[in-house]
Symmetry: C2
Subunit: 478 residues, 2 copies
């Protein structure tokens, strides 16, 4: 990037000037223990929603509503651009948090917001996931208005901040369907992910999809004696194991016929960009609490977790699992499987492929049932997508012209629901770093990065408004 133009300095100056006030308000929000998993905290989740709606109104949103669901409430806000033909952008985040207790190993009160001595970090549950990353949009929006002299954002801006993300978003798809008209957008910005590292700013371009389910296998009508009958009747625990073992071939590829149908392959450019990231396998293994890396042949660890579909055994059980031995052939066994999907895979088609594969492998004398719990579609934005390029420009401005690299998310989330129900591409604007400790004790956020997030958001609305006109002729930012 070349020199930073003047308005950007206005953004930086505005954000800096309002840093302390912003952090003070974020601390106030963190003190509301909006733990969606704990029924006793339902009142706090509601208080969190109301607090946020009030702050959004204070920020200037003409519309800021608490939306009821069958579970815990979400917050919706809308501020339309002055230009009727401006693009519509929906920001997604969540205001609920993971459970946290001092006894889990927190060095500070999790529902206080405690700055480090040098002020570089703010500790507290939700500091990064996701209150900090939702709240920087308020500062970013004010900086955008200030720096551009606008009285309304350059895009029709909508926010949808859900209250059950940490509980698996059980009511989120229904909410999207019910409110699809009001949520309609050209682009979705998800602010619930992170970057590679503080000195390696990145933009996430996709998430894997997911189907998971359970196979129950039934053999003898009751546990039978392995001496009297062993060797002469099929054993459902053995059959469950055979299914699990047959999931992969010798190269670590999923061996279910049709599984890879439609998979969007990594481009050479994407592989090059992944390979440029400063990946340290030893350090990654520590993060994974694991003692060896391994998987599909021909792919790097990052490619395996970000861009390749997988089959995993989440649970297996059958027969005697107590202490010592019991010489039985069990009457039943169970296998819980999950499949991460990548762009191009259709969850329903993969489910059918799994059904067919299982059915063909069950021997005479074993009955089986197969149930899927759910399906989340994968999402992926191509590197040359104009909205993605706008996001990259905004990030680069916030990070002083740094090269913005690309990551993906191995997990699966509501992003795909947004993409599917709203029919809009999903982009990810997040500034959290791996050391922030999501879901763990001593969650924190880097306060400098929160400011970068606010700056990126401040730049983004103008870039997006301009992006649809200009992106076609620009070079792809790496």
């Amino acid at each position: 990037m070349s020199t930073t133009p003047a308005p950007d300095n206005d953004v930086r100056a505005y954000v800096s000037a309002h840093r302390d006030g912003f952090l003070g308000e974020l601390a106030e929000w963190i003190r509301i223990p909006s733990v969606s998993a704990d029924p006793e905290r339902a009142g706090d989740v509601r208080r969190s929603a109301e607090w946020l709606a009030a702050k959004l109104r204070e920020t200037g949103f003409p519309v800021a509503e608490v939306w009821e669901t069958a579970g815990l409430p979400a917050v919706f806000a809308e501020w339309r651009a002055a230009e009727p033909d401006a693009p519509t952008v929906l920001v997604y985040g969540h205001h609920d948090v993971q459970p946290a207790a001092r006894a889990d190993g927190w060095r500070t009160e999790p529902f206080e917001a405690t700055p480090s001595d040098d002020g570089a970090r703010l500790y507290g549950r939700g500091a990064a996931d996701d209150k900090g990353q939702v709240f920087f949009h308020t500062l970013g929006l004010k900086a955008h208005l200030h720096a551009t002299g606008r009285s309304a954002p350059a895009v029709h801006l909508k926010l949808l901040i859900e209250g059950e993300e940490e509980s698996g978003s059980p009511n989120f798809p229904a909410l999207l369907h019910e409110r699809a008209d009001r949520l309609a957008a050209d682009t979705v910005i998800v602010s619930d992910t992170g970057m590679w590292a503080a000195d390696t700013p990145t933009v996430c371009t996709g998430m894997r999809g997911l189907i998971d389910g359970q196979i129950d296998l039934y053999g003898p009508d009751q546990d039978i004696h392995s001496g009297s009958f062993g060797g002469a009747v099929p054993n459902p625990a053995t059959e469950a194991a055979r299914l699990a073992a047959a999931l992969h071939d010798a190269d670590g590829r999923v061996a279910i016929p049709g599984f890879y149908d439609g998979v969007v392959a990594l481009t050479d450019r994407e592989r090059e960009l992944f390979a440029e990231l400063p990946f340290d396998e030893e350090s990654w293994l520590r993060t994974a609490h694991s003692h060896g890396a391994g998987g599909e042949a021909g792919y790097s660890t990052l490619e395996r977790i970000w861009a390749r579909p997988t089959a995993e055994v989440n649970g297996i059980g059958g027969g005697y699992q107590g202490p010592g031995g019991k010489t039985i052939i069990p009457s039943a066994a169970q296998l819980k499987l999950s499949f991460r999907l990548v762009a191009g895979q259709d969850p329903e088609k993969v489910q059918q492929a799994v059904r067919d594969w299982v059915a063909a492998r069950i021997p005479h004398g074993i009955r089986h049932e197969l149930d899927f719990f759910g399906a989340t579609r994968p999402c992926l934005t191509p590197l040359d997508d104009p909205a993605l390029q706008a996001l990259v420009r905004a990030m680069s401005k916030a990070f002083d012209g740094a090269k913005i690299r690309f990551t993906r998310e191995g997990g699966s989330g509501p992003a795909a629901d947004l993409q599917d129900v709203l029919g809009a591409p999903v982009l990810f604007l997040g500034i959290s770093v791996p050391s922030d400790g999501w879901h763990a004790p001593n969650e924190k956020v880097e306060t400098d990065l929160l400011m970068k997030g606010a700056e990126a958001a401040a730049h983004l609305w103008g870039e997006l408004a301009a992006g649809t006109r200009t992106a076609g002729g620009e070079e792809v930012q790496q």
Copy 2:
């Protein structure tokens, strides 16, 4: 067989004349609820031992002692032949029983002894397993003395009736070792098995051995997220499944190198004899509570359960087994395996083969532990064994000259301990039939078969005394 000689009629007449008295005393014994698995019944198990010792003294045994163990007591009795060079025979059985409660589905009180209306059956816990089959030896011995005019048996007769068989005989090997001198015998007669059917008298010629153990597999130090890490680290549940699935090849043979080393193959004659048994697969499957037969290619169901070694998964567990899904890679998994062994296999060598095989299959990043719970040797008596031929002659006399066929036991039991510690061949004299319902509600014994058991025992001592001299020149009884 030719016509039955006169002394046999004396045996039959004696047994018939004492039938009612015998059944009355057996009923008394059944009323003692000697459930070894129930600590609250320990006093009853002791009472059962004392009752039996008293009855054996009444029968004429000069020695009848209650033997203490680290657990529940056994009974030992000895009655020496007049001829010093007579062979020594040790009868094995057990006086403890399985638990039983009316609520389990019993139509009569399990610890009463209730005859059927026609007197053909006696219902009660232990009627067949094993009180009835131990107790017929008292009637048989008296008939033997009466019919031969002897004042002592034709063999040096010893009885060892254990009190913990239904609890896995935890203290039996120690007892055998401690008392090996007093238990020394040329032949062991186990009366704790059965026959093919009431109209198909059979003699069991062997039992399978057993090793069983547990493999623990450890992957990540804690459950990890299948999205963030799935596809890039080894999964211990998958590895447990791969081990279980690799136990057998496509022909159902155990695929562990060295597993079949030394296996004594079925002879053509044995296979012919097995094939002659009136085996009905549908009926057998009902007994097995199973819905399909299958196993090692090239063998019949009877061959598979009686004469071929096996590997079975008794239990498998790892990861999430609750309701619904949980998208994790589990930190650990467990596999419980048992291997039935046949004559010629050395349990310790098979254990080593399993250890080597497992160690070679565990991938980088997975740690494993393998523990064996125990080892029971297989036992098998060749069809031309002189003592076996003596038993066959005794059975044939009891069953009116019927052809005696051969079976084996698929299970594993203390017979092998007797064989190993005492260094004596083990024969099986049992008259129970599959419908007797061992370990099940409404256990019963066929009273006519109890009398046949007593008759066979009465004939056996003379046959065994004569057998060592004459068996070499006799034709194999089929």
